[in-house]
Amino acid sequence: MNEQAVQGQTARLGSEPKTVDDSSRFKMLFRRKSTLAFLLCVPLLILVFGLIVYPFFYSIFLSLLNKKETRFVGLANYLFLFKRDTFWMVVRQSVLFTFTAVFFKALIGFIMAHLIDYLPENRQRLWRGLALIAWVMPPALSTLGWWWLFEPSYSAINWILDGLFGITIPWLSETFWARFSVITVNIWFGTSFFLIMYLAGLKSVPQDLYEAADIDGANAWQKLIHITLPMMRNIIAITTLFSTIVTFANFDIVRVLTGGGPTNTTHLFGTYSFLKGIQGGDIPLGACVSLFMFPILAVLAFFILRNVRQRVREI
């Protein structure tokens, strides 16, 4: 990209021969330009500061109050959470949920992107579209469909298992299976995001690299390891980081499918914070729970930002 400096632009334009009238109009326009630009950004600034930055700091303030929000209690809420087994279970479950779901989303998305990329050009759109339906449906609503599939007495999945192997599984009422279920639904919902990103990434790898590898007699595995993966390193990194944030902060799926149960074993930070803060009426404690997400989100955001900056520099 060429430089964006307004000064550079005016200087370049000013040097071109033109009438006096034109160039003075120019100067007036550009002199006012930075004020104008700031004014155009005012709605954005109001939104970002009023409804994102201010609430964030307000949240920190709230987390230091007592339940009735009448008294300043310092770090008492944080210390209270540290002593609760349920809270540590939420931490462990959030980590387990995030890593398992992101890993399988990345893996399945990668395999599917390769499969679709292998099809003739005119068929790819249809298959991509079919795979995207899961991602396009509002997750709170599609999870209702999963809930019905897992339903204890009429479960369609159990109907199949019973018919084939004579077993039934308590999908949502036993800790292991409930965790398995919420992770499965998250994989179902989020894989298509990886699929789209990888598919776009695959298209951006220059074909002549593969042709050169063919001439050198490379097999499919070698081409994957030595061409596809290095060329897509950037996109894999940013998609995975981004999906990690979204998965870690998930709310809809767990809330609809298990509501955090059985006995709080499937709660994530988001759902546990909702349970304590909104349902339980303890706003400071809820704020405190959700703030525990912040350090992890900040680390992920740091890596994403570094990645984005790198790409901007490359341009």
């Binding site: 700031f38 600034l45 995207l132 709170a140 809820g286 959700s290 989100l297 955001a301 930002l305």
Partner: protein, 290 residues
């Protein structure tokens, strides 16, 4: 020559087998992805007797198709109100989000002012802030404004989710417009809004469509904010209304519930069926370009 021929014959046969395998495995994956919506559709068309009987293959309709769940949903439940509320909230959220992001992206892509670089990065950072981090303080803020249990509270908070991403991709689209175009416009005496409305917006239309779809989806599908802020049937939106109100029957009305979920989910699905390519190019533009 003969050796060459058989070599190519092998390649062709291998290619055919590989293609067959690709279709086979893709079909397995697609069955996994389409199974829940398919089963929701089947359930919504079954009679209550067939749903509650455990006999027979559950994945086909054996006792005749019925539209009674849909009829009941539209006449006897508050579903139409939820639908109307979602349409209103989504329309205004998209309008507000697009106005804010187009103005800001125009300024950030073309003009420099003190702090504009920081602001562009800041906008990207706010995109990474999830709703689960902010819903509790926002609950207090909305309460302070007297907007609890009002659908207009959502018009206020949904732009916080849509604007960062929309601004970010609009900056990209605007920045890719050649500078010669606005130079020519300035020489012709165009002022900033003529430039914006007659050059930038028409030229960056694919980006605007992508951003609009994003804002639409975010507003239509959001579940956490309405769940936290709204409670009465007159104000509820589709996601929360379907999940909470339709479930609270004495008996589980699975048919009606699935009909509601499918109807509520259909507008975004239909939109994507037509505009998928715009959305995907918008989504991947930032990550793939270069």
């Amino acid at each position: 020559m003969i050796i060459r021929k058989t070599f190519f014959g092998d390649v062709h046969r291998n290619r055919r087998w590989a293609l067959f395998a690709a279709y086979f495995f893709l079909t397995l994956f697609i069955i996994f992805f389409l199974f829940p919506p398919f089963y929701m559709l089947i359930t919504s068309l079954k009679t209550n007797e067939e749903i509650s009987s455990m006999k027979g293959f559950p994945f086909i309709i054996q006792q005749g198709i019925t539209l009674s769940h849909y009829k009941k949903l539209l006449t006897e439940t508050p579903f139409p109100t939820f639908f109307k509320n979602t349409v209103i909230v989504t329309f205004f959220s998209v309008l507000v989000s697009m106005a804010i992001s187009i103005l800001a992206a125009y300024a950030l892509a073309r003009m420099r002012f003190w702090g504009s670089g920081v602001l562009a990065t800041g906008v990207f950072l706010t995109y990474l802030v999830p709703e689960t981090l902010l819903f509790i303080p926002l609950f207090k803020v909305i309460g302070g404004l007297g907007l609890l249990n009002s659908k207009w509270s959502l018009v206020l908070v949904f732009p916080t989710l849509a604007v960062p991403f929309c601004t970010w991709i609009m900056i990209g689209y605007f920045a890719s417009i050649p500078k010669e175009l606005d130079e020519a416009a300035v020489i012709d005496g165009a002022n900033w809004y003529q430039m914006l409305f007659q050059i930038f917006i028409p030229v960056a239309m694919p980006g605007i469509i992508a951003a609009t779809i994003f804002a639409f989806t975010i507003s239509w599908a959001n579940f956490l904010y309405p769940l936290a802020f709204l409670y009465s049937n007159e104000e509820l939106v589709l996601t929360v209304g379907t999940v909470s109100t339709l479930i609270r029957g004495d008996v589980m009305h699975w048919g009606g519930l699935m009909a509601g979920a499918l109807l509520a989910a259909s507008p975004p699905v239909i939109l994507y069926a037509f505009l998928m390519d715009y959305y995907i190019s918008g989504l991947t533009a930032g990550a793939v370009k270069n």
